[in-house]
Symmetry: C2
Subunit: 406 residues, 2 copies
């Protein structure tokens, strides 16, 4: 963030802003845990969305992309876990549309105001009767206390739920942003099996909201990586229902910058929760590249380090293996002079320019015992910087992914 804003973190998730209701239920898509959530606004909301760039797009992605073009307003989103409804062809599309229609009917909404999202196993058909029955059962029970239930219902291999709500003054009123996400494995730059849902009572038009989301998403969900894979199903949606009573935010205003900063803060916080909860992870790793010739270079270098299995296993082993770090920068494709590079781990310098090795193994051991590891790489080539978040690579990651049919 570039500017100072006064954010208060408050209790609650997606129902913290005025006018939002939600809930979660076990619709028998999975064996035991809650697997179906609905999020709704009591008044139609502006909507913005970013969707996976994977060429193989799941049915709910294709349907929701049509819906956001069809109507500038969104009143509800239905989300299931346990089945991605991806690589399911015509039948999968029909199932996704059935989820939309059933949700619209159950909530008495125009069909074009409903979006759909799925996550879970790829290449299997939804048990659609269970799903539709679940929607019908859940819809009457949506309420302002239902955020947490919804956050639990969208989890897959996540080991904890991911929610955040913040409140801040904006143009003379107080606005609230609520959010939930699911993440874990397959997270990567350009989004991966991750879903993010953001609600706000601020008044913002679709176009303005979309610009804000693209900007904030570029600094958050597109800067995390668990295993470099991107999925068929990722999406981040923002709904803004205007109940806070502010004048609609226009581009170029102070309120525009303030809201974008707040949104960026929320998305970065969720992104870090997701990276930390990568499958089998024991540490959150932040890669910071400074002194790059351009922001693109900084991002490419940071991504390359964050995606390196060798760096991620070294951090897991609490090994100050700066050689693997500079190697990953070396194959990132950017132009730089390795002789100028300095590297530090949680602010402990380990390498100075001209390959002056100042690594103190004892001090490094203490630093690397931390759960949060910040790898800072100064390229000494320019003024640009970028952050990237990932997690360590563990035997548990292999265990989970050798046995989980995702």
């Amino acid at each position: 963030m570039n500017r100072d804003i006064q954010l208060d973190t408050i209790d609650g998730g997606i129902t913290a802003p005025a006018g939002f209701i939600a809930g979660g239920i076990h619709a028998k898509i999975r064996k035991k845990k809650p697997d179906l959530a609905i999020l709704a606004s009591t008044v139609p909301a502006s909507v913005a969305g970013v969707f996976t760039t994977n060429k193989a797009q799941a049915a709910p992605i294709l349907v929701s992309k049509i819906q956001v073009k069809r109507s500038p307003l969104c009143s509800a989103v239905v989300v299931n876990s346990g089945n991605a409804n991806a690589c399911t062809g015509e039948r999968g599309l029909n199932d996704a549309w059935a989820m939309v229609r059933t949700t619209a009917a159950a909530l008495n909404l125009p069909e074009e105001q409903v979006l759909v999202s799925s996550t879970g196993v790829i290449g299997q058909y939804l048990p659609i009767d269970n799903v539709l029955q679940g929607i019908t059962d859940l819809a009457p029970d949506l309420n302002v206390e239902g955020a947490h239930e919804a956050a639990l219902a969208i989890m897959t291999t996540d080991t904890y739920h991911k929610e955040l709500a913040v409140r801040f003054p904006l143009g003379g009123v107080t606005v609230t942003i609520g959010s939930m996400a699911k993440g874990s494995g397959m997270i990567a730059p350009n989004m991966a099996t991750m879903l993010g849902f953001v609600t706000t009572d601020a008044a913002i038009s679709n176009d303005v909201l979309q610009k804000m989301l693209v900007s904030a998403n570029g600094k958050s969900f597109n800067r995390i990586s668990v295993d470099g894979d991107t999925s068929t199903n990722d999406m981040v949606l923002v709904m803004a229902n205007g109940l806070a009573g502010n004048a609609p935010i226009v581009e170029g205003s102070p309120e525009y910058d303030q809201f974008t900063d707040a949104l960026e803060y929320v998305l970065i916080t969720l992104a870090k929760m997701i990276a930390r909860d990568g499958e089998g992870a024991t540490k959150l790793i932040e890669v910071v590249v400074t002194g790059a010739a351009s922001e693109a270079d900084a991002t490419a270098a940071a991504r390359s380090v964050a995606n390196s299995n060798l760096v991620k296993t070294a951090v897991h082993g609490e090994d100050a293996n700066w050689g693997r770090i500079i190697t990953a920068v070396g194959y990132s494709g950017i132009d730089f002079d390795p002789d100028l590079v300095s590297i530090s781990l949680n602010e402990l310098p380990v390498l100075l320019p001209n390959y002056e090795i100042v690594l103190d193994e004892e001090k490094a051991k203490v630093v690397l015992a931390n759960e949060n590891i910040v790898i800072t790489i100064d390229l000494n080539q320019g003024e640009h910087r970028a952050n990237f978040w990932t997690c360590d690579l563990t035997k548990e990651y292999v265990h989970i992914n050798a046995s989980y049919r995702s």
Copy 2:
């Protein structure tokens, strides 16, 4: 390979062709195992080399690149394991030159006819006194039986040595190609901590040899991946000393094609040995993409699948997880229609176009119990194809790399 040639695999490695001698020794760079090898030709040989594309290049890479430009002839290569002499600045360069000079002196060769190569831990200085003493001790003992000793001395985390020799008729004479390689972790497209040394008694000029190597390398070492990382130290060298007595091979001749095919066969065989010996690996995976709109598309798609941690863990778990395979193609950056894709595992069809799932879980279980897994992806977009080799991702990989300072 595009053409038929009659290759006989014979015993021996780099000393199989006439005029080559070699040896290996424990020079106390590592605690126990042999760690220094010298390969020499009794008559000066043409030389060709390909070197890592990593921006952070180790001292021996910088020195050997100078040497191949300096002289068209090469008579010896000195190689050490246990220390990469990478990220070691001025001192590292001095050490690499000292290895060259000492080898030249010990073998009574012009300095410009000696190349140097290193592999092992990054960012530590060579115990140069030990290294130079080792060279002096080893040089008088080089002999035609020394190939195997040399192949053992260049290994790092390799679990087996990698050697191959073949013999075939060429332009009225019989020529021999010998080879050795080391691989294991960090192997990736565009080469990674992998070294390859090829010898032949065929007569080939430097320029012609270089073209052959670049072509064969593109189909072999640049088509393998263990963990997506590329290293500071990779190189592949070919020495051709002409003792077979053939007329020097010229471009456009049948002999040119025949030798290139043989070289490609040798490099592909070594590449597969390297992929199969990836750290902790239990299976060799071959990814075959067919029906691509271009060879570049085929290669990009195959690389993306081969680099996917999720595909590699699924194969390890013997899980017919075709969803992860199509997902990896989806984020490879190529343009294709997912509806047209078919996928098979060791020739067992699991997915047909229009997402027709024909996976038989019982049959897949049998097929995936094999040590060699071929994943074939037909994009049905065109006529082009590419192969890529990798290995499964295991807990043992994490174990090795969380504890090994490479």
